[in-house]
């Protein structure tokens, strides 16, 4: 155990030291040199110790009160006991984790910092803490887009906009759903990442969720009856276009009613 803690501490120093370079792909992540030859479980354990344990605790019980980390970045994070593979898969495949600063809102990252095998190893390791739902497999092709629009408007549109382009809630950004896979939409509905509410199967059944995903996928290619969607984000760009047209009309009116003085 003490050996693992030492490893974790060493990796934490490496991770936090490299945090400003997080924008570069796959830097700032501590990974074993012999990762390819390790079993999935061992790889997951080592990656967890190196990249996750400073905030989630080496035993996965979380860090409830800020603990001094390296530099200005404190260590702080929720328990992963009982969250299961669903949440781990969502946070790792969206790039929300690893997070450089626990006080930042996690945002989608592309390319991901972990390879597919590394993510599978970490998901398996977090799943081994016990509890929590498995990774869902939604079937948007079975969904009904019209029902999905109705449900999306009722449950999701307040924050994500009816066009699923995202927006703001006071204190946080609401991500657009353009890049969210069907599985990620299904996962986020059930767990409610960051400040999003979560929805149980009592509120949104799995078949209703299929419809919602079908609608989200439809919003990526919306029918633009006017020929130009202007971003499909509602009144602000539409109003700006109106202002632009109105300004042209006003200038034309001025030219028509005015007279040029010849001298």
């Amino acid at each position: 155990m003490s050996g693992r803690s030492a490893l974790a501490a060493a990796c934490l120093v490496a991770l936090v030291g490299a945090a400003p370079a997080a924008a570069q792909p796959r830097s700032g992540v501590a990974r074993p040199d012999n990762g390819d030859s390790l079993s999935l479980r061992d790889l997951g354990e080592q990656l967890y110790a190196g990249n996750c344990s400073s905030c989630h605790g080496i035993d996965g019980r979380g860090v409830r009160s800020p603990r001094p980390g390296a530099g200005d970045v404190p260590s702080l994070g929720p328990s992963l006991r009982g969250v299961g593979e669903l949440a781990a898969d969502f946070y790792l495949r969206t790039g929300y984790m690893p997070l450089g600063n626990p006080y930042d809102q996690p945002t989608r990252r592309d390319p991901l910092q972990f390879s597919d095998r590394e993510i599978r190893a970490l998901v398996d390791y977090v799943g081994s803490f016990g509890g929590g739902p498995a990774i869902p497999s939604p079937h948007p092709e079975r969904g009904n887009v019209a029902e999905g629009q109705h449900l999306f408007t009722e449950h999701c549109g307040g924050c994500h906009q009816v066009a699923a382009k995202g927006g703001f809630v006071t204190g946080a950004r609401v991500p657009p759903l353009d890049d969210a896979s069907a599985t990620q939409v299904a996962q986020s509905v059930r767990i409610g990442p960051y400040v999003m509410p979560r929805f149980s199967t009592k509120q949104i059944s799995d078949s209703q969720l299929d419809s919602i995903i079908a609608y989200v996928q439809r919003t990526r290619h919306p029918p633009d009856r006017g020929g130009w969607g202007i971003g499909n984000v509602g009144p602000i760009p539409e109003g700006m276009v109106t202002w632009f047209l109105a300004a042209v009309v006003l200038v034309i009116t001025c030219v028509l009613i005015g007279e040029r003085v010849r001298s």
Binding site: G77, C159, T170, A172, M196, P197, S200, Q203, V261
Partner: protein, 329 residues
């Protein structure tokens, strides 16, 4: 009353006319322009149209329950401005003599020059034959438009009977149901999510009907002492209508890990008014002027959620005297 005003204006204009005619005996500065009585009539007609459209705005505003009232307001007020603009265009094109001035005006402090300037202004109006009528029409257009612009302010004041605004369909014992009319039970309400509820057996379409229901974790509840028994097992209910501009409060910010995220809040998507559901709907941020009205809850023996009274205050945007009376059933 307006006819009396117009007659008065005509009489005043007529009195001045004699003096001006005497002045015109002297040599003119502005060359006499052809009279255009037809154009004058057009201007007068347009100005009265502007006045009529502005009056129409006031009439539309006064009609209760007018369908598509926003469009009618826009049509009437925009039409009034449009007629006024058209009148001014015709006026400037047909009734104002246009002369190109070659040399600069001298410094204005010479009294004779000033007098000449006054005469230029006066004589420019000489081709107009119906001055009184034009003045009356312009006064009517300007006055009516100004009155129309001020009309909405009446809604702020105590002029109207606002008693209907205090009414809500909630009363003691009424069950909470979901959109499909299914009664909500205490066990149905989970943490970290939000529900929309309506009164059983009443219209869902009135402003006082919709509720947003959330369950607050035990340690986070901070209701004032007089409202501690308004929650059932941490379940609280608020009006879903924002107290700022009556949008539906459809955003629930619920942090997954509170130490690093903003605290739980109900947020209105229109202007981001933010309310604290654990503190009696207190405004945390945004333009809303009042807390979200809270509905006291109780659970019956079978576990159904019921209202234990009416809201803590009137629902929806504010009006004059909104803080003086509570909600009524």
């Amino acid at each position: 009353m307006r006819r009396l005003l117009a007659a008065l204006l005509l009489w005043l204009a007529g009195g001045r006319r004699k003096r001006r005619e005497a002045e015109e005996e002297r040599e003119r500065i502005v060359a006499p322009a052809p009279k255009a009585p037809a154009a004058e009539l057009v201007v007068v007609g347009l100005l009265f149209c502007a006045a009529a459209a502005a009056v129409a705005f006031i009439v539309f505003y006064a009609i209760d329950g007018l369908r598509g009232h926003t469009q009618w307001f826009g049509l009437a007020f925009g039409g009034s401005l449009g007629f006024l603009g058209a009148a001014l265009i015709v006026w400037s094109k047909k009734l104002v003599p246009v002369e190109e001035i070659e040399e600069n005006y001298p410094e204005p402090e010479h009294p004779e020059e000033q007098e000449a300037l006054h005469r230029i202004v006066r004589e420019s109006g000489s081709p107009v034959t119906r001055k009184g009528l034009l003045t009356a029409a312009a006064t009517a257009a300007g006055g009516a438009l100004g009155l129309a612009a001020l009309t909405p302010a009446v809604s702020l004041g105590p002029v109207f009977d606002t008693s209907s605004l205090y009414g809500t369909p909630w009363r003691r014992g009424r069950r909470l149901v979901d959109q499909d009319g299914k009664p909500l039970r205490v066990d149905d309400i989970a943490e970290a999510t939000f529900y929309t509820a309506y009164p059983e057996g009443a219209s869902q379409d009135t402003v006082g009907a919709p509720l947003v229901v959330v369950r607050i974790p035990a340690g986070e509840m901070a209701l004032p002492a007089d409202r501690v028994d308004w929650a059932v097992e941490g379940i609280v209910a608020y009006s879903k209508i924002c107290t700022h501009a009556a949008c539906a409060v459809s955003l629930y910010r619920k942090p997954l890990f509170p130490p690093t995220a903003p605290r739980p809040a109900l947020v209105c998507p229109c202007h981001y008014s933010t309310f604290d559901p654990a503190r009696a709907g207190k405004v945390l941020f945004g333009p809303a002027g009042r807390a979200l009205p809270q509905l006291p809850l109780r659970a019956d023996r079978r576990g159904f959620l019921r209202a234990a009274g009416n809201f803590s205050g009137p629902v929806g945007p504010s009006w004059s005297g909104v803080r003086t009376k509570g909600a009524r059933s």
